[in-house]
């Protein structure tokens, strides 16, 4: 199945950049054009603000999001009112962003708009569902990693990762960092007991006796000072907050003979170095996620904003070696 067919098969796709300036917007625009050609109605929104006319730090020309007739889009009220396209307002769900209420529009005549989406994961899911119900076959979510946004892009069915020279001018480093993120995206899906994302702190669980316990901590930092016995008595722990190196290292140190399972909502909660994750896994630990988008493709932008270039075909080859999904140079999309 080619990439576009896979995209059309998903109700929602997030396009996330490993860093800024990784060609994410180009990927988005390419997908939107292809969908337009196929007559597939798309919806677009974002997590965080994007489509800004000029990059704030590097002042390089940043491509705007161009939308075609019939595309649904969700953005904040102030961005809707300053849009440069002809569209109609079709819905205003009860979602507030830092830039006003969220507005869902339908494009009447093509043009450009800045997308600033819902502020949290639950609202993002609501927006995706709303756009699906209003007729969008596939909803594209413009997101980013590296920014600790309050909304997770991992709520979508599929994901496209944008990487490139902006991540690192050194090709090997860029490849390694990219592969590491792909490894996190592909963490196994948890099929046991389901925990709600609204749970604060952590829950310990034993898969054999099905007993659950609440260690009554209010943040993940407190996990570091938990008694070793928690890890002996239970073989699984659910945590909804951010997992840092310190936390994972502490859990690694306490893993008993039975091994230990850490369950998290999705991979965006992990803020750990590769060596720390390796050590955790070799100590008998395993991380599971409650939701996992399918990694559909990785795009590479060989140019960085400071002007540096990396060897595009070499980068694509090295990544393709290790990944099952499509890998390509983002410039081939234009």
């Amino acid at each position: 199945m080619n990439l576009i067919e896979e995209i059309v098969g998903c109700r929602s796709i997030s396009v996330v950049g490993l860093d800024k300036n990784t060609g994410k917007t180009e990927s988005l625009n390419w997908i939107l054009s292809r969908l337009g050609e196929l007559g597939v109605r798309a919806g677009v929104t974002s997590i965080g603000v994007d489509g800004e006319c000029k990059d704030q730090i590097f002042a390089t020309h940043k491509p705007e999001i161009e939308l075609f007739e019939g595309t649904l889009f969700a953005t904040s009220e102030s961005h809707y009112l300053s849009r440069r396209l002809d569209s109609e307002v079709v819905a205003m769900p009860d979602i507030r962003t830092s830039m006003g209420r969220l507005v869902v529009g339908n494009v009447v005549e093509r043009g450009k708009v800045i997308l600033s989406g819902a502020p949290d994961t639950a609202s993002t899911r609501e927006v995706i569902d709303l756009m699906n119900s209003l007729g969008a076959q596939t909803v594209l979510v413009d997101g980013a990693l590296g920014r600790r946004s309050t909304a997770s892009p991992a709520v979508t069915d599929g994901m496209i990762l944008a990487t490139g020279a902006a991540v690192s001018a050194n090709l090997s480093t860029m490849v390694a960092k990219t592969l590491y993120i792909c490894r996190q995206i592909s963490l196994p899906l948890w099929s046991g007991r389901v925990w709600s994302e609204s749970i604060r702190g952590a829950r310990f669980f034993d898969t054999q006796s099905e007993c659950e316990a609440n260690p009554e901590i209010s943040s993940t930092i407190e996990l570091k000072s938990l008694d070793k016995r928690w890890f002996e008595q239970y073989d699984t722990m659910y945590v909804s907050g951010a997992i840092t190196d310190g936390v994972l290292e502490r859990v690694s140190a306490n893993i008993g003979a039975r091994g230990f399972r850490l369950v998290i909502p999705d991979f965006t909660r992990l803020f750990v170095e590769q060596r720390v994750l390796d050590r955790f896994e070799s100590s008998g630990g395993a991380i599971y996620v409650q939701r996992r988008p399918r990694l559909l493709a990785v795009t590479v932008n060989p140019t960085s904003p400071s002007g540096y270039r990396i060897d595009s075909s070499l980068a694509v080859d090295k990544l393709s070696e290790k990944l099952e999904c499509n890998v390509f140079d983002v410039r081939t999309l234009c």
Binding site: Y80, L81, D86, E88, V90, M92, E109
Partner: protein
Amino acid sequence: MLKNDLTRIEGLRYVIDDLDIRSSVGRRMLFEREWSASPSELANRFDHIEQLLTKVSDPRFESLRTKFLQLKDISAVLRLLGEGGVLNDTDLFLIKSFILLYYDICSCCEQMEFSVIVRRNLDSPLTLLDPDGHSVSAFRIYDSYSEELRHLRNELKNSPEEKRDSVFELISECEEQIRCRLSAGLKQYSEDIYSALNDAGYLDIVMAQAEQTVRLGFTRPELADGDSATGYWGLFQPEVQSSLRVRGINYQRINVESLCAEPTLLTGANMGGKSVLLQSVALAQVMCQYGFYVAAERAVVALCDAVYTISGDNADSKGGLSSFAAEMLSLNQVVERVSSGERLFVTIDELARTTNPIEGAAIVGAVIKYFSEQGVRSVIATHYGNVDSSCQRLRIRGLVCTESDVVNAANLQRYFDYQPEPVTTTDVPHEALRIATILGVDEQIIKNIRKILTK
């Protein structure tokens, strides 16, 4: 205003929270509802609820209620419009979307044949917002608004990239002029639309009230004038009933008859439900005068201007007042309002209990005398015996068990009869010792109490 009484009247918040009002407009309107002492206004509200009672089980009832979830409070936008402001695209969308939803709601009402609200004609503002007659909940500045706009948009379609920005500028200016024109044209309808918004909010409230009435078993109060007696049959306090049910305990509904425009002294053993009785009658009065059916099987309510509930729990610890001081100050407020000619309904839970019994009983007697002279409808609970006054007295029947019954702290409530009955004696039940024994108070203390009592 109802929202101010939520903290004052025990059990009111529970009833309001239990009401499943679907729109923020409805919620706002209910919280801002004013106390009513007008029999015609209240009868009107009750008639609306009554109309809907038989329709609650109709599946269309619930599907209509779901529409209220989409109802947005556009009062701020309408206010801006009324003041001559220029609306933007999202504001215009909200108004158009509201009118379409309002028409939809009215159609459902007409289908189900209820006349709680009557459809207002908003065709003119709708046409302004829907020049092409699509009747779809979407809005933009349509080509039909201006030939110039239509022309400019065409030009934009055929413009080369370099020219697009300047054409766009012209389009923006043109659109803004149209918005000004539209806003000016809509201004005259802002009040009508606002009334329609309020109607929709009101309907939301009434439908929620009807559903609650059926579910909790409320009854329509019969209204009586200020000189008549208030009476309740099968009276209950919904919040207390609910929490007892959760614990598997049966709730005994009671009858409280002939509460005339004079004080009623209420006595009874501890845990005998005096507080719940006071809460129940106060709550029923309040619910009635805010246009709700009441928690009873039958109710006759004499209307008043305000309800006062005084109890030791109202102690203002933050203000540094003791419960006695808070009580006296509340009493003062009551006296002030009575003197100014207002008709009040007052409940006092164990008046002056936190002071010595001799003065306490005297205070109770004095208050009763004052209420008697002024004709204040009130219920005053007390433990003090020999209160010197000639007023109506009710005593809760209390503990009813035989020698062979094994009564303990866990099942004590099952042996209680919470029904009050009129008595003429001035003494109070002396069941404290018995209850203390049942509750398992230390044997030595019980012995000592007995000794002192028999002296």
